[in-house]
Symmetry: C2
């Protein structure tokens, strides 16, 4: 996880951020990314039934533009969600104005919002900020970093990741920026916030191929993490491909394709990890390694049940090797299994086997493992080949303080 953006960004994009006065803090709150020309996009939105206005408009735009995006306009500080027709009109007005400034169709503008739900978006502030943002655009690390900074809300750390692959003297670049610390239990689906992830590459690839490459990478990363299980109304992930590397997917070798998908997976994993690591009140990052399930879906159901169990999460906060809570959470997940076939290890130390505490269980040693900031809990269901790696975190007093903070 880089602390700031390095050189060698994807070609064909420019970034900028400005202050529009939407965040109460007065910090930069409008982030813009503009491609040199409308380029193929793959997008995944939250599966929440309640979605923010920019998601409704973004979905329409992507469909109307046949998967092409030229400009991304993100505001932080207001989610423009549950704001009725006024909210939808605001998102549309943003696209219309941005299109004039960035020289494209309104449906080639991709709007995003993150922040408080239910409060009307001060769209006039957003629109007023666009000309100065346009003037500021650059393809330079500090500008990409500004973009990543401006999309943050309760985040405490910048979340960016970069990668590159070399091919025949040419370089394909990847860059990603993410935000999200609470309301993190993404369930992203194909075209359907408040995790926002923007990925940029200069690979030459069609929108259809881009979607095919993106979905497995997201399923194994952003769709396999949870802070609190609260799937947001605004979760959005967008991948743009400028083609400026002049390396074409359509004629790429299997090796080149594998190299690209591997690098994309790395970047998604890095950003997903960064989101959990910066989760609200988090003091422990826990990897749940579920194996031996009847299938991958059941493994994920078990992982989610453990990841969302308040009793498991509070035990992790105090490094308590209370493995009974792990079994109980797996047991009420809805998945059928025989507990006598299940084995559990924490940091590779034996915990549970043959339906009871492992004879080799060492409470002090297990507690010591769990005092580390990161460790793995492995559960083998003893049924089949299904598996899932799921990244989650503890539930702390600080989480409650952050989310209960309210004053009249």
């Amino acid at each position: 996880m880089a602390s700031s953006v390095r050189k060698d960004l994807p070609l064909g994009f420019r970034w900028a951020a400005v202050k529009a006065g939407i965040k109460a803090s007065g910090r930069p709150d409008v982030a813009i990314a503009v491609a040199d020309k409308p380029c193929p996009a793959a997008v995944m939105f939250t599966r929440n039934q309640v979605v923010a206005a920019p998601i409704i408009v973004g979905r329409e735009n992507i469909a109307a533009s046949t998967g092409l995006v030229k400009a991304i306009v993100v505001n932080a500080g207001n989610a423009n969600c549950a704001t009725g027709q006024t909210g939808i009109d605001a998102a549309r007005a943003t696209c219309t104005e941005a299109a004039k400034i960035f020289g494209c169709n309104a449906n080639e503008v991709f709007p995003s919002s993150t922040g408080i739900i239910g409060v009307p978006l001060p769209v006039e502030k957003l629109i007023a900020a666009l000309p100065s943002a346009a003037d500021a655009l650059e393809n330079r690390p500090s500008y990409a970093e500004d973009f990543a900074n401006a999309i943050m809300t309760t985040d405490t750390k910048l979340k960016v990741a970069q990668g590159a692959i070399e091919h025949d003297g040419k370089t394909v670049h990847l860059f990603g920026a993410a935000k999200g610390a609470g309301m993190i239990g993404p369930q992203l689906g194909p075209p359907h916030a408040t995790m926002l992830v923007y990925l940029f590459t200069d690979l030459d690839i069609s929108a259809a191929d881009l979607r095919m490459v993106l979905e497995p990478a997201v399923d194994a990363s952003f769709n396999s993490i949870s802070v609190d299980g609260d799937t947001s109304t605004n979760d959005t992930l967008l991948l743009l491909a400028s083609g400026a590397s002049n390396v074409a997917w359509s004629t790429a070798s299997a090796d080149l394709r594998n190299a690209f998908t591997g690098e994309l997976q790395n970047i998604c994993n890095e950003l997903a990890h960064a989101i959990i690591d910066d989760g609200e009140g988090v003091t422990h990052v826990v990897t749940l390694d579920i194996t031996g399930a009847r299938n991958d879906a059941e493994a994920k159901t078990i992982a989610r049940s453990i990841a969302h169990s308040p009793l498991c999460k509070t035990a992790w906060s105090s490094a308590d090797p209370n493995w009974g809570r792990l079994l109980a959470a797996a047991g009420y997940s809805g998945v059928e299994f025989d507990p006598t076939h299940v084995t559990v290890t924490i940091g590779n130390l034996p915990v549970f086997e043959n339906g009871m505490r492992s004879p080799a269980f060492d409470e002090a040693a297990t507690h010591a493992i769990m005092q580390q900031r990161e460790y793995t809990i492995a559960m083998n269901m003893g049924q089949g080949q299904g598996k899932c790696r799921f990244l989650t975190c503890d539930l702390t007093v600080e989480y409650v303080h952050i989310n209960a903070d309210y004053s009249t």
Copy 2:
């Protein structure tokens, strides 16, 4: 909710409690209830795939005795769960010894355990305590109260409820005792811990009819509550009918039947409410009144999603009218609906309608309602006739403290 047991208990039962030295506190930890003769029983166990030894043995016993139970033997302080074959043997030995003392078959003894998971039950202490428990049995309020006290673990309040119906100069009594404060998200199913509920009546009724009467009462009460959504491995509910009132269900009028099922529902509701009210760290008891869903099952799914949302629960802890979190939780429940048809009220005050914040929304007034210990959040999905009333609570710093408390 009575603070202690009144006179007029069901006839045909006696209760007692003794100290066996299983609770670390040294308080009474073995509770016994004995019927004058083996009597019809209806039982519902947790649907968790991981179940405690006494549930395995209790399920076998009820099947073998064709639904008859003479004695209930409960220990608190140790759940006898995830204890392997040794744990099952311990539960069986308890039944065998209790049968000798109480003069019945071993399969007419119903064992229960609650407490820590994964630690071997000190069964010799439990068995050694049985003779003195047998000597102490009485059909008197203070003995029934002792029973209710001894089954408690982290509970801070006694949980009992009583009722009676008059019929032709005869009286049918009902008495119930419950325990449970954490790991509360019961999903009780027909014969398949750590909510324990024992209900006693002197109605004359068959085991089959008893089950039929019990299930709807449980679905509307214990299966519609949640502290933390953690369904225990030991949840058990047992209803015994001694017949000693000489009022027979088989010849009862519709009015009498309605009076009995109504009283049973009241007692289940009272005990279920008592469990939430005494939930770990609870400062607010919230009734979720979901209506207008496509069916009752979907209404319950939406209620559970809200009841288990850490963001909703933390907002309740500070009386924060953050209604966006309610909508988001409904939206990720998996149930399909159109947010523009949804209305939300808090304590009858308008909050959300037509896809946006209600024009009449009064933040200060809503905050004031939410400062009360109990209030109702109503959500009408605008789709149909499906409904669910679900009782839940806030998530507080104290809950985290209680469940994270661990020292090496």
